[in-house]
Amino acid sequence: MKDEGYAPYVVERYLTLFSEQRTLDIMKAFQRAPVPSISVNTCNTTVKALRERLEAKRFHLEQVPWCSTGFWLYDARDYERKHDPGSLAEFSIAPGATHEYLLGLYSLQGASSMIPPLLLDPKPGEQMLDMAAAPGSKFVQMGQMMQNKGVLVGAERSLERIPALKANVQRCGVTNSVIVCNDARYLGEQFQGFDKVLLDAPCTGEGLMGSDPSRKNSRSVGDIETMMNIQIQLLEKAVKLVKPGGRVVYSTCSLAPEENEHVVNEVLKKNKKFKVAEPPKSIARYFEPGIVKAFQVKFREDLANAVRVFPYSHPARPEGFFAAILEKPGARGGGA
């Protein structure tokens, strides 16, 4: 395991949290990058039409089972040879440079990152907030689910990431959005009363070790603690911004319980009326439940309703991920 390039503390943590077999399964899956995946923009095309166009360009598409508009992408020749490098660079036509991509018919989006908008379930006419919107794949996915009706507000702290977010929004024809360069920890009264809030929090990115092997040894335990504190601040803000009867989805691409279950547990200690809701079975059945005990620390029982994605969850090696639906009790006001 040392030869795989993992920092020793990473392996020790996995062995403590999970069984030896699961640790080996995780590390084996992280040996290769996830298979690239796309999300069809059904505001601009249909799944069938896009599929035909991409198959004519020698792509092979495989359905992502938890997302009807999500597909894993293979180079057709590689697929026939059962060669799966999991790398965008191996494609004979770059998936991010096709005419269909430029026309906004689809976006490149990790299969795991399709989950939070599905759990949030934005509806046309609602008021949605994405607290960490850049570079925009989930933001665009939500805009598409809303069919450009209602309002979709995206906050992004980093000015350098705003151009990519705007480019994705405009390329895909999301016309009901507002983008602000704001630090979401300090959002004020302007941001009260949203129907639903997405917080895909900045994290150590441990779940991305397959696509970025440097993460096996570039992060320390101190980094986990730093991110955890930021995540708690962000989630504390998120639960204040959603209206009664509304929903917050908290997600990260980390496997660390300190960044996942612990953050939710801490914030809900001060916001006792919230509960962690059950996810739809159509999504939950592919993944594992949240952890209710880690490193001798017990968490609230309903955290078992959270969703954990491991890279061994599917042969296409989806990114490691965590997502939880937090529901705020109370009757929703009339109209979004």
Binding site: L103, V153, V169, N182, Q190
Partner: protein
């Protein structure tokens, strides 16, 4: 190329159009400071420096008239404006930043939320970016053209390219005869020669400007540039700085 019409443009009579509506307190013009921001810096310092140099408000009647006329250059009668603003149920805003004035469409149902967000100094984008004013001239944007096409309202001043033509146009190339598949029946009659460039499937690739003498692009040679490239969808990859 056609002359700019001197008569007032025909407009749909629509009681819903908020000609005289203004946000209370003219929020867009006030300092732009959101006094409700909590302590702790919601807006990064470098962004806050910009706050005094831009404001947002409903487009003036004069601006709307110019935009209305330009948009209708690409449709039949009042069809293009109807599709975008009336049936699209959008409000028309101008966004002034320094010497630049851009026009955006924002859904009316988002009015209440947008009203409070307009004063946020970190506001970077909203709604559909329809185009930009250059003096008294309004230039339709790539996104505005795409939205017209998406709504089926782009019935005039368009050309269609072959598959090979699509490839070269998306690389920023001008259009010559071999790339051309079809021209709209009346030819390019826009007073500045602007046309929407479509692919063989009728999807919006960008905007071009007529160079050839024949607006119907019939009496042309193989070598001459018929339509000059203005903007194409390749900018989403090539030139993300334009979105800064």
């Amino acid at each position: 190329m056609g002359k700019k019409p001197s008569s007032r443009p025909r407009r749909a009579r629509d009681d819903r159009e908020p000609d005289d509506e203004r946000f209370p307190g003219d929020a867009g013009r006030e300092s732009g400071r959101d006094s409700s921001l909590e302590s702790g810096r919601a807006v990064p310092k470098h962004v806050e420096k910009e706050r005094e140099s831009h404001w947002i408000d409903f487009a003036t009647k004069e601006q709307k008239d110019i935009v209305h006329e330009e948009v209708n250059m690409f449709g039949d009668g009042d069809g293009a404006w109807e599709a975008l603003v009336v049936r699209g149920d959008n409000n028309v805003f101008h966004y002034q930043k320094g010497n630049f004035t851009s026009i955006h469409l924002m859904p009316r149902e988002a009015k209440d939320r947008f009203k409070v967000l307009m004063g946020n100094p970190g506001l970077k984008h909203f709604g559909l970016f329809l185009g930009m004013f250059k003096g008294n001239q309004f230039n339709l944007s790539l996104e505005g053209a795409a939205e017209l096409v998406r709504r089926g309202a782009a019935t005039r001043n368009w050309i269609k390219l072959s598959d090979d033509g699509e490839k070269s146009f998306l690389y920023g190339q001008d259009i010559k005869k071999p790339a051309l598949q079809e021209v709209c029946p009346r030819g390019i009659t826009h007073d500045r020669g602007i046309c929407i460039v479509l692919n063989a499937r009728g999807e919006c690739l960008g905007l071009g400007k007529l160079e050839a003498r024949d607006p119907r692009l019939v009496k042309v040679s193989d070598d001459e540039i018929l339509v000059k490239h203005v903007v194409d969808r390749g900018v989403y990859l090539r030139d993300q700085d334009r979105f800064a």
